[in-house]
């Protein structure tokens, strides 16, 4: 096994353990921290697969953004110490859904074969940027509209609570 393979396996192990712990633990705070470990490990996998840009964006958006937002929400809501899984009223349906999605993902990655780091094209980031503002401009702008809508929604909810 090469260094890359063992690092890939190590990050994979961290990701799996982090993801499992996030679902199993009763403490919402610990679940979020475990999710952070999972997200960071996935960034490591991206880096090992020569996707530097995706790896850094994973840290930027998910660990530095989404995770902080989750912690923020947890800390601002007084009741939020219990894990949301403890509050599910139809666990059977949830289990079926979870197994279906999980099984589908396993099947998809099984049939996709083994991982091979892609040859990095010259100026990969530039190509990505041109694609986002060229052929993919429509979806890119749509995401912007969705984000704007969610900001406006958040503002209106926040404003309603004021006397």
């Amino acid at each position: 096994m090469s260094l890359q393979d063992s690092l890939f396996a190590g990050f994979g192990l961290i990701a799996v353990v982090g993801a499992l712990y996030a679902v199993i633990t009763r403490s919402l705070l610990r679940a979020i921290v475990a999710l952070g470990a999972f997200l960071t490990a996935v960034a490591g996998e991206f880096y090992l697969l020569s996707a530097d840009f995706v790896a850094v964006v994973q840290i930027f958006v998910y660990v530095g953004g989404i995770l902080v937002l989750m912690l923020f929400a947890l800390m601002l809501s007084a009741s939020g110490v219990r894990h949301p899984l403890a509050a599910i009223d139809r666990p059977g349906l949830g289990a079926v859904l979870a197994y279906a999605i999980g099984g589908g993902l396993v099947w998809a990655s099984w049939t996709a074969g083994t991982f091979v780091p892609a040859e990095l094209p010259e100026d990969a980031v530039g190509a990505l940027g041109r694609a986002l503002l060229g052929t993919q401009l429509g979806p890119f702008e749509l995401i912007g509209v969705i984000l704007l809508a969610s900001v406006i929604a958040a503002l209106s909810i926040a404003r309603r609570e004021q006397p």
Binding site: L29, D52, L71, M75
Partner: protein, 320 residues
């Protein structure tokens, strides 16, 4: 077995980086105390070593040997994890700074983005530390720090984008080459100002240090910390100041470019100049209020940096 060796070498490099950052912190704290004393017409520490030069070394030894106190109701895991998550990203962010020639840990092709992304993880640490301490002051400090960081991250990032547009690359080494003739402070003075001011906010320095404002929050997120864990917060603050200054020197002052002297000396000179301005500001300006701080970020810096971005793009288009 060679890859085990590579792995061990990586660990060793990490230890070396941590040691260098520790030494750097000792020097910076002493400089800050001495410069601050001069600004306020005092002499600063004088008793330990010649001219008080060994004061911070003595302080560090004291900190490491102190008892590690943990509040009885604190969350043990998060309480321990908090300082680590603050200190490690601050040190990691130094990995993409080119000190000249082979003195760069990794020339990532997304180095600039890396530098903006990795220090963001410290917010997770600050929030955890504040929450885990089970103390109102710590908790408020943690919340304030994250709100502040997220707000100032946006104008700071937009200021850096103008540099990236001009250089046409996200690699820190390419940035150096692009500035071999004219440093970007000449072409993008407004971006430099936005970067410098928002960076002070990002590393929680006065006048933006409301997360640890001692007049209202005792010591903010690190109220309940002592000994080595407290030292880690301090280490992170000075590593952050160094990293932000070194990156400012790299983005706007041409980094290691300069005549006669080797690149590493130039970079350290420019970084020191920026850090000196940071210390100078600390002993000159009073602290902002929390609402003033937010208003400044969202109602002044965000529109300004957006306008700066559009202006830079238009000028580039006109010149090209």
């Amino acid at each position: 077995m060679s890859h085990l060796l590579t792995f061990a070498l990586g660990l060793l490099l990490g230890a070396v980086a941590f040691t260098i950052v520790g030494a750097l912190t000792a020097i910076l704290v002493l400089t800050e105390r001495k410069v601050g004393a001069r600004i306020q017409g005092r002499v600063g520490p004088m008793h330990t070593g010649p001219q008080g030069s060994l004061q911070t070394i003595a302080d560090m030894v004291k900190l490491v040997m102190k008892e590690d106190v943990r509040p009885a109701r604190a969350d043990a895991v998060a309480f321990g994890l908090g300082p680590l998550l603050v200190a490690v990203p601050a040190i990691l962010s130094l990995a993409v700074i080119p000190f000249g020639g082979p003195l760069i840990m990794r020339d990532l092709n997304v180095g600039v983005l890396y530098f903006l992304a990795v220090p963001g993880v410290t917010v997770v640490g600050l929030l955890l530390a504040g929450w885990a301490s089970y103390d109102n002051y710590s908790f408020l400090g943690g919340l304030r720090s994250s709100a502040q960081f997220i707000s100032y991250e946006i104008p700071r990032g937009l200021a850096v984008v103008t540099v990236v547009m001009l250089a046409g690359s996200l690699s820190t080494v390419d940035l150096l080459e692009a500035q071999s003739r004219v440093p970007y402070i000449v072409l993008l003075p407004l971006s430099f100002l936005i970067y410098a001011i928002t960076s002070l906010a990002e590393v929680n320095r006065i006048p933006f240090d409301i997360p640890e404002a001692e007049s209202e929050l005792v010591a903010g997120y690190h109220t309940e910390y002592s000994g080595f864990r407290w030292a880690l917060f301090f280490l992170a603050e000075y590593a952050g100041l160094f990293a932000a200054s070194a990156f400012g020197a790299l983005l706007f002052l041409g980094g290691g470019n300069g005549p006669l002297l080797p690149a590493v000396v130039w970079l350290i000179l420019k970084t020191s100049a920026l850090m000196f301005v940071g210390i100078w500001i600390r002993f000159t300006l009073p602290r902002f209020r929390a609402d003033q701080l937010m208003r400044l970020a969202w109602k002044f810096f965000l529109p300004l940096s957006l306008a700066n971005l559009v202006l830079a793009a238009l000028v580039m288009k006109a010149v090209a």
